[in-house]
């Protein structure tokens, strides 16, 4: 008689650092795409007017400068950050809407007592309160990042 296998508690496996996922989660890919577009435009010197090059270059640089602190923080957290268990406490509303639906941030409190926030999103995309999650702490600033967005 063979009994069905019971589900077990898994051994924790730390997520491997993945550059593409980090670029996606930090939205730094937008800046890189704009800069790449600007670079491509430089090849059409005769026909292309100047303003698309300037717009995409300045936009890419500006976006990159805006996202750089968060990207570096996420990088440090993913590379050498402390891994903590956290509990979702609430969802905090924001001023942003998407098709009339208010966008929220998920708020958590981790094992060391520090609290953190996720990025904007629909409320149903985040796990509800009292759900356990895993966060990575940035060793420099102490800011915590949800593993799902890292």
């Amino acid at each position: 008689m063979s009994r069905p296998k019971r589900a077990t508690v898994p051994a924790f496996v730390a997520r491997r650092f993945a550059l593409l996922r980090l670029l996606w989660a930090s939205r730094m890919w937008v800046a890189l795409a704009l800069l790449a577009f600007a670079y491509v435009l430089t090849f059409e010197t005769q026909t292309t007017p100047l303003y698309p090059k300037i717009l995409s270059f300045v936009g890419g640089v500006g976006f990159g400068v805006w996202r750089l602190p968060d990207t570096l923080s996420m990088w440090r957290a993913a590379r050498a950050g402390e891994i903590r268990q956290a509990v979702v406490t609430s969802k905090s509303p924001s001023l942003w809407y998407s098709n009339g639906v208010p966008l929220m941030r998920m708020v958590w409190r981790d094992a060391s007592g520090a609290s953190g926030q996720s990025r904007l999103g629909h409320a149903h995309r985040f796990p509800g309160p009292n759900t356990k999650i895993i966060v990575y702490a940035d060793p420099k600033t102490g800011r915590t990042w949800w593993e799902d967005e890292l």
């Binding site: 009994r3 589900a7 077990t8 496996v13 509800g128």
Partner: protein, 332 residues
């Protein structure tokens, strides 16, 4: 019929039969890939093939180049489009090869495209450690609701988790628990709907073409082609019949619901009053789904009514057990 339903069924003795586990189910590369087929990549590859066959310009004063120069870029696009599927399949294979099932709890049900008639969903779960996972997009009506305990598998290299519903052909454990033991009747398995299966017709027409070619003195190389079709069709039919027989003899019963009918396109000439046969698509409460063979009009169960499904214990597929007049009116 109503009397039968009120009487208690056979005594349920759970956990005594072998349940299909990930190691028992054939999770071949093809099955894993086509669980969520990479349609975009396949389409792009087809376009690339077609583009590669574009003729070169023969007109001496033609300008430009042949469309075949776009074949290689299109092929690279196809490769890029196939990349997510490839990563998924590799990760799922790793998850199946090592480790064990992890029980997790559904933390949220994401609604994608909520304005659609049939919104698509994705579940998100949390395991005891706190690792979060997302399922593939569930294009079904029944989704495991929030708070349900589900089984997932973890890919050991990157910690990515996969719900059992994301693997082809795995029956959920909870759905199997408490379902009645089967009675051992093989009455319905005489031909198991073989006439409605494409393999049978491939075999029949393969045989016909073989005879025709042999009588007309065609070269043997050409005659061997329908023979191959005949053998493949026969194999498909026989394997299906065996699986059907197993499912009816000692397969588990699942309670499912008919969600859609796939009917023949021609209605006027096939029957009166638009009473057509149909292949019934069904789903269990846990979101696992399948389709029955094409059955005649008097065996078709209405959409939304219950259907009993037998699970072949050796391989994965399920077979709908259609009962005459089941679900018509207030029979229960």
């Amino acid at each position: 019929m109503s009397v039968q339903r009120k009487t208690p069924g056979p005594t349920i003795v759970p956990d005594q039969t072998v349940q299909p586990d990930a190691t028992d189910v054939s999770t071949s590369l093809v099955a894993l890939v086509f669980h969520r087929p990479p349609w975009l990549a396949l389409g792009l590859a087809l376009v690339a093939i077609l583009l590669s066959q574009a003729p070169d310009p023969t007109n001496p004063d033609a300008t430009g180049v042949s469309a075949s120069v776009f074949a290689l870029p299109m092929l690279s696009l196809a490769v890029v489009a196939a990349l997510p599927t490839l990563l998924r399949v590799l990760s799922q294979k790793r998850a199946l090869a090592s480790g064990d099932w992890i029980s997790a709890r559904v933390s949220t049900v994401e609604t994608l495209r909520s304005d659609a008639v049939l919104p698509r969903h994705r579940i998100m779960w949390t395991d005891p450690v706190g690792r979060a996972g997302r399922s593939l997009v569930i294009r079904k009506r029944w989704v495991p609701p929030k708070g349900t305990t589900i089984r997932v598998r973890q890919d050991p290299t990157n910690g990515r988790q996969w719900w059992e519903g994301d693997f082809p052909g795995i029956i959920p454990e909870a759905a199997l628990m408490g379902t009645g033991a089967s009675a051992g009747s093989t009455k319905g398995a005489r031909l198991s709907g073989a006439w409605s299966r494409i393999g049978t017709w491939v075999a029949i027409f393969g045989g016909v073409f073989t005879v025709m070619l042999a009588l007309s003195g065609a070269p043997s190389l050409l005659t061997s082609l329908p023979v191959i079709a005949l053998l493949l069709g026969l194999r498909s039919t026989v394997l299906h019949h065996r699986a059907f027989d197993r499912a009816l003899r000692f397969g588990k019963r699942l309670e499912a619901k008919v969600i859609r009918h796939h009917t023949a396109p021609i209605s006027r000439i096939s029957s009166l009053k638009n009473r057509r046969g149909a292949a019934m698509e069904w789903e269990t409460r846990r979101g696992h789904f399948g389709e029955t063979d094409y059955v005649a009009a008097d065996r078709v169960i209405e959409i939304g009514k219950k259907i009993t499904v037998c699970v072949d214990p050796v391989k994965a597929p399920h077979f709908g057990k259609t009962r005459k007049h089941q679900g018509k009116g207030d029979a229960g």
